[in-house]
């Protein structure tokens, strides 16, 4: 695996984690109280992954991609139900970049990416209550019967 590919995949993961951190900020503001703690711990988890990825990118001699000031949400989030859908969608997207990172890396980085993918998949089912057969594999998502992810 080339360093260049690895760096590119790390940057993509970092960009997705920036977006997830932003997105969970929105989720936290809309979600009902009963699930706020869960949203908060997901937010913290994504911040931790983001910070770890910043270090990884630097270790490989790259300049970590920065977060945007704001992101266009994939759909309006006026209430708690939409916030839950957004949270599931965020996990789905993050899973996709981590599966690519698994392929592009080896050793400890690959293991960390696989664990991040696993955590994202578990959080996704916590949010939407349904599993998908191949979390993070976009090319197999089309035939996934249980997929509830909105088509953005």
């Amino acid at each position: 695996m080339s360093d260049k590919k690895e760096l590119k995949a790390l940057q993509a993961a970092l960009a997705a984690e920036h977006a997830a951190v932003y997105g969970y900020g929105v989720v936290g503001g809309r979600i009902h109280e009963g699930r706020r703690t869960e949203a908060r711990s997901a937010y913290d988890a994504h911040r931790a992954r983001r910070d770890a990825l910043v270090r990884e990118v630097r270790d490989l001699g790259g300049k970590p991609v920065a977060a945007s000031a704001a992101y266009a949400l994939p759909f309006p989030v006026p209430d708690s139900a939409a916030a839950v859908r957004l949270a599931a969608e965020l996990e789905d997207r993050v899973a996709g970049v981590y599966s690519d990172l698994v392929r592009a890396t080896g050793g400890e980085r690959r293991r960390a990416a696989a664990e991040a993918l696993r955590e994202a998949a578990v959080r996704a089912v916590r949010w939407n209550g349904e599993s998908v057969a191949f979390p993070g594999l976009a090319e197999r998502a089309a035939t996934a019967s249980a997929s509830q992810a909105p088509t953005a």
Partner: protein, 176 residues
């Protein structure tokens, strides 16, 4: 800046289309040069890939056997387990295993683990807990196994391990 496109949007057309063509009933690792990594085209690596896929198919088929054993012993949970079982079937097939409709899957003529008569706990709750533990243990094994295989197979193993962990969650905490 726009929100990053969802992964299922073909943001990387080159790779996506390459994979789409390789994704049939079975993804033939390393044969199509799916990830274009040179080390995957060596004979030794092919054999590692072949063995790892066979193992993964066998493991999923064995898990399928456990689902079937639980469903046989506790028919009331059949509806709840149905979607999860269907995903395990897809996992088995993705690794090249075959599943005969309505019966336990076999990854090879000598699939050893599928024995529906294997003891299933007497209560539904215990049976589901045991199934969850099996899913979790397999997900753990796969998370380790994926360190020793070429990139694309590692990617699929990571995804299937993630699905297994999600199943374990649904079988336990997600219990209604």
């Amino acid at each position: 800046m726009p929100y990053p496109p969802p992964p299922r949007t073909p943001s990387g057309p080159r790779r996506r289309s390459l994979l789409a063509s390789a994704a049939g009933a079975a993804l033939l690792m390393g044969c199509s040069g799916g990830s274009g990594e040179s080390e995957e085209s060596t004979g030794g690596s092919m054999s590692v890939t072949h063995k790892a896929r066979a193992r993964a198919a066998r493991d999923s088929a064995g898990l399928l056997g456990r689902y079937d054993a639980v469903i046989t012993a506790h028919p009331a949970v059949a509806e709840r387990l149905g979607p999860l079982r269907a995903e395990v079937v897809r996992h088995t097939e993705a690794f090249g295993g075959t599943v005969t409709k309505g019966s336990t899957g076999t990854a090879s003529p000598s699939a050893p683990e599928a024995s529906p008569s294997a003891s299933v706990p007497a209560t539904e709750k215990d049976a589901l807990a045991e199934l969850a533990a099996a899913e979790r243990a397999l997900a753990d094994r796969r998370t380790t196994a994926l360190l020793d295989v070429p990139g694309e197979l590692a990617r699929v193993l990571a995804s299937v391990a993630a699905a297994g962990a999600a199943h374990a969650y649904l079988l336990t905490e997600g219990a209604k």
